[in-house]
Amino acid sequence: MNNIQSLQYFLPELLITITALFVIVFDLISQKKSNNLLVSVALFCIAWLLYQLPSNGGEIFNGMLINDKFSLYFKWIIFISTGAVILVSKYSNELDKEYKAEFDALLLFVLLGMFLMTNSIDLLMIYLSIELVSIPSYVLAGMLKNDKKSNEASLKYVIFGSFASGLMLFGLSWLYGISGSTNIYEIYKTIQLIDNPYMIYMSLMLILIGFGYKISMAPLHYWTPDVYEGSPTIVTAFFSAAPKAAGFAILIRTFFILFTSTNSLTVDALPLEGIDWFLIVAVLSAATMTIGNLLALKQDNVKRMLAYSTISHVGFMLMAFSTASIDAIVGITFYLTLYMFMNLSAFFMVIHVENNFKVKEVNQWGGIGYKTPILAAFMVLSLVSLAGLPPTSGFVGKVYLFRTLFATEKFYWLGIVGILNSVISLYYYFKIVKSMYFDESVIEKEENKPMLLYFFILLFSAQNIIFYFYWQPLYNYITKLFS
């Protein structure tokens, strides 16, 4: 489809770009007026456009992007979480109000990048979209200009990020060399004919590094805790949700199409002959979840603990990915959806606590359970869900992840590692619960009650219960994406 025709499938992205630019312009001319209304309206329009967006476009922009149900779904969840972050960001006490417009614009650029990540099918677009997400993210991490930690976070992020994307780029260049094309469907055709798997292996590994860095897979997880801790909490909340979804979207699409026996997202995949990358993913996923959980055990900083918890959740999702069945990617998509919301809810709670009670360490959370009883109760729900216990949706999601493992009868050992890990994870999640309810209170009363934050925390936590009892519609919907 040519470029002009393709634009009809590109309207949300266009509006995002326009909004981002306009936010900056507005900031220049508006003399410190709040842009909340503007952003809200824009977000609403984007949502409307997304709602209008057809999902049968196929390849657009001359095979650079693709428009399908899979990407549309991911766009939705990415949009919701990013939108929530943008709306909630006005409550953040850390951010300098002067830079609010820049913050919004940067977030919108990242949103654009993530949209592109979900539907890139060309190596160039893959690289560009990842960079489009990364570069504003470096800035976001360093938003607090005078804060040493924030500065350090952004430094580490930029070095690590460009290093990883450099490696990926090198891998991409080899892939290009092997196949002579940059479109992944074309490459897929060529790769099937090549009988020396070693070259493909090399580029596969390098590309995995690029994607792995985006989703914090071990050993690419190193940046995560430091960046999460140093960044403003609102940014951390954002990092822990939407980019992970985008990363998984691009990982699933690229790896499923490129490195398996099939080029479609609707049938179970087999590895290419001689290239058993499933095993590598399995091993790495075991490492990821183990590292995430073990390191989370001894954390005192809540944000850092949640960072490690994010890593461990990525491990769980990779665990299912290693089976490369359709059930697995349905499970991952499903879990990702649930995870994003429960995690955001937990992070919003952290924001709320930091704003109101000025505490950052777990053991300072004492008595919060009685100071804000309702939020704390929902926080418990989110934590229980993160730990994967009934009666919460986290449990349902985890069941699906484990199920794929047992259903495909591969990697039973991985299942055991996974189960052991979920036991370990209980400990640190419940450390927070314990602190909230059992410890002596050292904090003062809740000062203000931001309604929007309340709303999002309750909404995102409520899904833990709702999708526990009625996950079926959602799951069915996701299943249809892959048929």
Binding site: Y127, I135, S154, L169, Y176, T182
Partner: protein
């Protein structure tokens, strides 16, 4: 005659040098330079493959141009961050930035 080998060798050497620089240099700017080396080694690869692969399109070349642009953008952001770092802790030695760990 196939001249592809030397170019690829060059790219690989550059890649390794880049890695080496990234890992060993303590100066943040030098690390950035190492990353540029990695990116450029990939660029050489792209161009080499496009030239010797007898591919009809110019995908490789286009790719390279985009990478150069992106590298510039990245460097701009990175340098800004490094300057800020210098403002905050008075050095660009990355080893000094280790407040967060564990």
């Amino acid at each position: 005659m196939n001249y592809i080998q030397p170019f690829l060798m060059l790219a690989s050497i550059l890649f390794c040098l880049g890695l080496y620089a990234v890992i060993t240099r303590k100066n943040a700017v030098a690390i950035l330079m190492g990353i540029e080396l990695i990116l450029n080694s990939a660029n050489i690869n792209f161009i080499t493959f496009n030239r010797f692969g007898a591919y009809r399109t110019l995908d490789g070349h286009v790719f390279t141009i985009f990478v150069i642009v992106l590298a510039a953008a990245e460097a701009a952001v990175a340098l800004a961050i490094i300057i800020n770092l210098f403002k905050n802790i008075g050095t660009v030695d990355v080893d000094q930035a280790k407040e967060m760990k564990g």
